[in-house]
């Protein structure tokens, strides 16, 4: 029933909580929420709450990039955060979320991976970013991406004992991860024929199509379309236009 109600309101360009179609709910970013992580952050967008943490280790580089560090991202839609998530291995939804956030960081070359190299072909820093949903109320991806970047930004290298080849966890250096750009994701949703930003759970249930746009100040680095219905080129253009504005505003929250 609420589907009809929401669509009825959208026809008048209105939303249940009175927001403008392209407006975000209240956003808070909190840094350093988990002490044993090299970096961590909690992001709340409305009632959606996500935490992300950075752990680092020293390991071997990939064969095809012997002088570059390694970035590994994972995400978990904890059953703790919603009745809709079941315990078990990461669902396709969780995998997609992690991969989309990963691509945004990777394709934008925001981390200077060469600076993560300790000894070419042998030792590089590996950066693990793990995302956990604490309360799911729509628009998880934007919150997850924002939390990941915030965590990366406040992360510090742990001390490394080169002689004994041991990472000294618990002892943080003053060195930050070489993050020279801040890629921000903004997902736009087509609901009831209108284009919305930051949908809540109720709105998300009736989304026809969605488009995640990841941008830095240089341009668009990642996109992902989801949903069962199509988008016209005009709609995509309109969505990107909104993303250009919103990603700037979200980025300002991290700076």
């Amino acid at each position: 029933m609420n589907k009809e109600y929401i669509v009825g309101l959208l026809e008048k360009s209105e939303r249940i909580d009175g927001r403008k179609l392209d407006a975000y709910r209240k956003i808070t970013v909190e840094n350093g929420v988990s002490k044993n992580a090299e970096g961590s952050a909690r992001v709340k967008i409305g009632d959606t709450e996500v935490i992300a943490g950075v752990k680092m280790d020293v390991g071997e580089p990939y064969f095809d990039s012997q002088d570059k560090g390694v970035l590994i991202m994972g995400a978990e839609l904890s059953p703790l955060s919603s009745e809709d998530f079941e315990p078990g291995p990461p669902s396709t939804q969780a995998v997609e979320l992690a991969r989309v956030v990963d691509r945004g960081i990777r394709e934008s070359n925001s981390i200077d991976m060469k600076k993560l190299c300790i000894k070419k072909k042998e030792k590089v820093w590996m950066v693990f970013i793990d995302i956990y949903i604490v309360n799911a109320d729509g628009n998880l991806l934007d919150a997850a991406a924002l939390a990941s970047i915030a965590a990366l930004k406040n992360a510090k290298f742990p001390e490394y004992d080169e002689k004994n080849e041991r990472v000294k966890y618990g002892e943080l250096s003053k060195k930050s991860i070489p993050l020279d750009k801040l890629p921000i994701a903004c997902t736009l949703y087509k609901v009831g024929g209108k284009i919305l930003a930051d949908v809540s759970n109720e709105e998300e249930k009736i989304v026809e199509a969605r488009l995640t746009v990841t941008m830095t100040e240089e341009g668009i680095h990642g996109m992902q379309k989801g949903g069962d219905k199509t988008l016209s080129i005009k709609e995509i253009d309109e969505m990107v236009k909104i993303a250009e504005v919103r990603t700037k505003e979200l980025r300002a929250l991290i700076k």
Partner: protein
């Protein structure tokens, strides 16, 4: 002989000793162990002469016979419909329990279809697995248009108010039709989306502050805006 160890309207936690002695009797949410009456859930103390019970402050809806609830049709079977009323199990509406006369070969979707929202009354509950509902009651009918708001069932009495006073006040101020289900589902339908939003905000506010004093006055003020 006996001693009451807590005050009326005090918030108590499970395991808390409420009273001592055989004078007092355990009501809902209270159990007896030897001489003590002990709280068996998080709730508000309510003492009525010798009966000590707790008014729950949270928890999912537990179906009770006689309750008027709002449900959604989730399945249609041979003899009727299955409705989601927010209880552990879905509720069963048989053809024989509808107010309309429905012949055996009738197309049931013509009466209640998938997704239809209906106000029903609970007839009986067997071991909380089989919940029989009926529409043979004055209040029961299909609800068209409007929106559904979910609140915690324990807050329903506050939203209704003494003798319906609170919900009447909201109806008057917002001009909306409002039906409150005992299962915490509230239907609101108005002519103006701003008024509907006000009704929704008020109901959510009552849910949040249900346990506080002076709520009626606060809500009066809120509605004036």
């Amino acid at each position: 002989m006996g001693e009451l160890k807590v005050k009326e309207k005090e918030i108590v936690v499970p395991g808390e000793v409420l009273a001592n002695g055989m004078d007092f009797l355990p009501g809902e949410g209270v159990y007896r162990e030897k001489d003590d009456l002990i709280a068996s859930k998080l709730g508000l103390v309510n003492v009525n002469s010798r009966l000590v019970k707790l008014i729950p402050l949270s928890g999912r809806y537990i179906a009770k016979a006689g309750d008027t609830v709002i449900g959604t049709v989730v399945d249609i079977t041979f003899g009727g419909w299955l409705m989601d009323i927010g209880a552990v199990n879905n509720a069963n509406l048989s053809i024989k329990d509808t107010s309309e006369y429905i012949g055996r070969d009738a197309d049931l979707t013509q009466y209640y279809n998938f997704g239809d929202v209906v106000c029903v009354k609970i007839n009986k509950v067997i071991r909380s697995k089989m919940i029989d509902i009926t529409t043979k009651d004055q209040e029961c009918r299909k609800l068209k248009g409007g929106m559904l708001i979910k609140i915690n069932p324990s807050k329903v009495p506050r939203v209704i108010g003494k003798g319906g006073s609170m919900v009447s006040m909201i109806k008057e101020s917002t001009g909306c039709r409002i039906t409150v289900g005992q299962n915490g589902v509230v239907w609101v339908s108005g002519t103006d989306s701003k008024k509907e939003k006000l009704a929704r905000d008020v109901i959510k506010k009552i849910e949040k502050e249900a346990h506080k004093e002076g709520l009626t006055d606060k809500i009066k003020e809120f509605l004036k805006k």
